[in-house]
C-alpha cells in the first residue's frame, strides 16, 4: 500500500512539473528571445555555407578558365615594440582583401615570439614566419634618429633567401615581391597594380622624403627621372614602398640583396642596381600620377605613468597582451 502511494505521488509530481514547464514555454512563445548571439553565429555559419555553395556552383558551371593570378609575396620586417601588435593587426586587415597574397613576416629576433606566432595563426592569411636578429652594431641605439642606420636590411634579405630556397624557378614563377613595412598604409588598388610586374614596377609614395609625395616622373610611358626632395643623384631615389620586383628577377639573381653598409638613402639602390635600368622600369598608378601608398609612421605611445607605476610594482597586468 505504502509503495503504491509513493509511486502515485512521484507520478503526480512528475506530471505537474511537466505541465508547469509546458505552460511556461507556451507563455514565452510569442515574446522576444534573448538569443541574438545564437542568431549571429548561426548567421555567420549560414553566410559561410552559402558562400561555399556558390563557389562550388561556380566551379561546376561551364566557364572560360580564369587566368591564374600571380601571387604577391609581401616581405614585412617587424620588431617588438608596444605598437607591434596594433600595426600587424591593421596591416593584416588590409591584406585579407588581396587575393593570392603570401605574407612573409620576418622578426628582428633570435627566435619566433609567441605574440607574432599566435597573431599569424589567427590572421586568416597565407603566411611564412621567419626570424633573424640584427647584429648589435647595426641596431639603432636609444636616442638615435631613425634615419641613422637602415632598418630591416637583414630581415628583408632573409625573406629573399627563403623565397630563393623554397620557390623553384621552373614552377612558372609568376609573381611579384613587395617590401611592406608594418607601419605604412596601403590601398587595395596598389596590389593589383604590382601583380603583373615583369621586371621592376614603380609608383609614387606619399608623405616621404620630407614631401607630400615622392616618385618617378613619366614621359611617354617611360620613367625619365625621379621627383624627390633629397639627393636626386641616387641611382634609384625610391622608397622601399615605392617599387615591386618580379619573382622571376629575384630568383634569377641570387646575389641581389640589400646592403646594410650603404650610405643613408642608398639601401634601395643597393638592391636594384644591376637588376634593372631606369629605362626598364614599369610605371604604375596611372603613369605615376596617383598616390596609392603612404609612408605613415606611428607615434611611440607615452609611457611615463606606466614606467612610474612599474617602479612601484604596480604596472598594468603584464599577462594581458597589448
Amino acid at each position: 500500500m505504502r509503495l503504491r502511494f509513493k509511486l502515485k505521488t512521484v507520478f503526480i509530481l512528475y506530471f505537474t512539473v511537466s505541465l508547469l514547464g509546458l505552460m511556461y514555454a507556451l507563455m514565452h512563445l510569442g515574446q522576444h528571445c534573448e538569443c541574438s548571439e545564437h542568431d549571429m553565429t548561426k548567421d555567420r555559419t549560414i553566410s559561410r555555407l552559402l558562400g561555399k555553395l556558390h563557389s562550388l556552383q561556380g566551379h561546376t558551371k561551364k566557364e572560360p578558365t580564369k587566368p591564374h593570378l600571380p601571387t604577391i609575396y609581401v616581405i614585412t620586417p617587424t620588431y617588438a615594440r608596444l605598437v607591434q601588435k596594433a600595426e600587424l593587426t591593421r596591416l593584416s586587415q588590409t591584406f585579407l582583401h588581396v587575393p593570392q597574397l603570401h605574407w612573409i613576416v620576418v622578426e628582428d629576433s633570435s627566435q619566433r615570439t609567441d605574440l607574432v606566432s599566435h597573431f599569424l595563426e589567427h590572421s586568416g592569411l597565407v603566411f611564412t614566419h621567419l626570424h633573424i636578429p640584427t647584429p648589435q652594431d647595426r641596431k639603432l641605439q636609444e636616442g638615435d634618429p631613425n634615419w641613422l642606420k637602415p632598418r630591416g636590411v637583414e630581415q628583408r634579405n632573409e625573406g629573399l633567401r627563403w623565397l630563393r630556397e623554397n620557390i623553384w624557378v621552373g614552377e612558372a614563377a609568376e609573381g611579384a615581391v613587395y617590401f611592406a613595412d608594418d607601419d605604412n598604409t596601403y590601398s587595395l588598388q596598389l596590389f593589383e597594380e604590382m601583380r603583373w610586374t615583369q621586371r621592376v614596377s614603380v609608383w609614387p609614395v606619399g608623405l616621404v622624403g620630407g614631401m607630400r609625395y615622392e616618385g618617378p616622373v613619366v614621359e611617354q610611358g617611360r620613367v625619365v627621372r625621379f621627383h624627390t626632395g633629397w639627393r636626386p643623384s641616387r641611382p634609384f631615389p625610391l622608397d622601399m614602398a615605392g617599387f615591386a620586383i618580379s619573382l622571376r628577377l629575384v630568383l634569377r639573381n641570387p646575389e641581389a640583396r640589400f646592403d646594410g653598409n650603404s650610405p643613408m638613402g642608398f639601401v634601395e639602390s643597393s638592391f636594384l642596381q644591376g637588376l634593372v635600368t631606369m629605362e626598364e622600369l614599369e610605371p604604375k598608378a596611372e603613369m605615376c600620377t596617383k598616390v596609392l601608398v603612404w609612408h605613415t609612421r606611428t607615434e611611440k605611445p607615452k609611457m611615463k605613468r606606466e614606467e612610474a607605476l612599474q617602479a612601484q610594482g604596480l604596472g598594468s597586468d603584464s599577462k594581458v597582451e597589448v
Partner: protein
Amino acid sequence: MSTVLEMPKRRDVLAVVLIVLPWTLLITVWHRSAVAPMLAIPKERPVVRQQRPADDRSEVQHEMAIAPVTSKERCSPERDIVEVVRTEYVYTRPPPWSDTLPTIHVVTPTYGRPVQRAELTRLANTLLHVPNLHWILVEDAARPTALVGRLLRNTGLNYTHLSVETPRGYKSRADARDPRIPRGTVQRNLALRWLRETLGSNSTQRGVVYFADDDNTYSLELFEEMRSTRTVSVWPVAFVGGLRFESPRVNAAGKVYGWKTVFDPHRPFAIDMAGFAVNLRLILLRPQAYFKLRGVKGGYQESSLLRELVTLSDLEPKAANCTKVLVWHTRTEKPVLVNEGKKGFTDPNVEI
C-alpha cells in the same frame, strides 16, 4: 513474502527509469542545440564578399569567395594550403547585409591634414570586414570635401557623409595639443543629431553606436563584441592615460565598479572614446544627451555623454570581462614636409 517484495521493487525501478529517461533526453537535446552553434565557429575568419551595385542593397549577385586557410611554414613542397579561387576585382565589397544582426553605426570625426586619406583608407580596409556596418563620417569642414566623398564612394561601404565646421573659439590651434579643447566634439554631436532625426525616437531598429577616431587601430573581434550591447558596453583600450592600457574594474559578479587608470580614476567614466559603445535605442530615447562642448575638463568628455545615458552598475563589460585588449589608441606622426619649402615642391593636383 519474498514475491510480494520483489514485484514492487521492479515496478519501482521501471517507474524511476520512466521518469528519468525523458528528462535526460530533454536536457541532452537542449544542451546540444545551445552549445553546438558556439562550437561551430570556425578558426579561420571567413571573408564573404559579393559583387553588387554600391547603392542597391536588395539586389544580391551571388559571387562569393572565402579566404584561404593559413599555411604552416616549413612544409614540404606539397603544402596543404587550401585556397579558393577568388573573383578578381580591385575593391571588395562589405559582407552581405543580414536581417538579424544589429547594425553598428560607427561615428568617425575627421579633418583635413596630410595623413587624412591614408588614415581613412586603412580604416576603411578594416571596416570592410564587418557585416551590418554603417559608417557615419563627419568632416570638420564647412562642406563635405571631394577627397573624402570620392574615397567613401570607392570603398563600397554603407556610409553617410556629413560635415560641420568647429566654431572658431573651439578649434585647437594647428600644433597645440591643448587637452581643454576636445577635438571632434561638434562632429560627434552632429552624428548623434543625424541619427535621432533620421531614425526618430520610435524606431525599432536594433543598433549600436561606436565612436571611432580615424587614427586608432581596431581588431575585428571588437565589433562582434560590441554588437550585443544592450545599454552601454565597455572594454580596455591600449596606449591611453600614459599606460599600456586602461580598463574598467570588473568584480566577480561581472559588474563594473571602478576604473583601472592613473589619470583621474575618479571621473564618473574614466574611459577613452574608443572604449565604449552605446545601444542605439538609448541614444534615441534620450534625445538631450550630447557631448558637452563648454567647460569640459581634459578627460571628462566621455563622461559628459555617458552620465546622461547610464549608471556605473548598468555597464556591460566585454572582451572577456575586460581582460583582453581589442583596440589600440595609436597616433600617427605628423609627417615632416620640410622639403616642400614655402611654395610647395610637389604638384598640388596630385592627391595624397
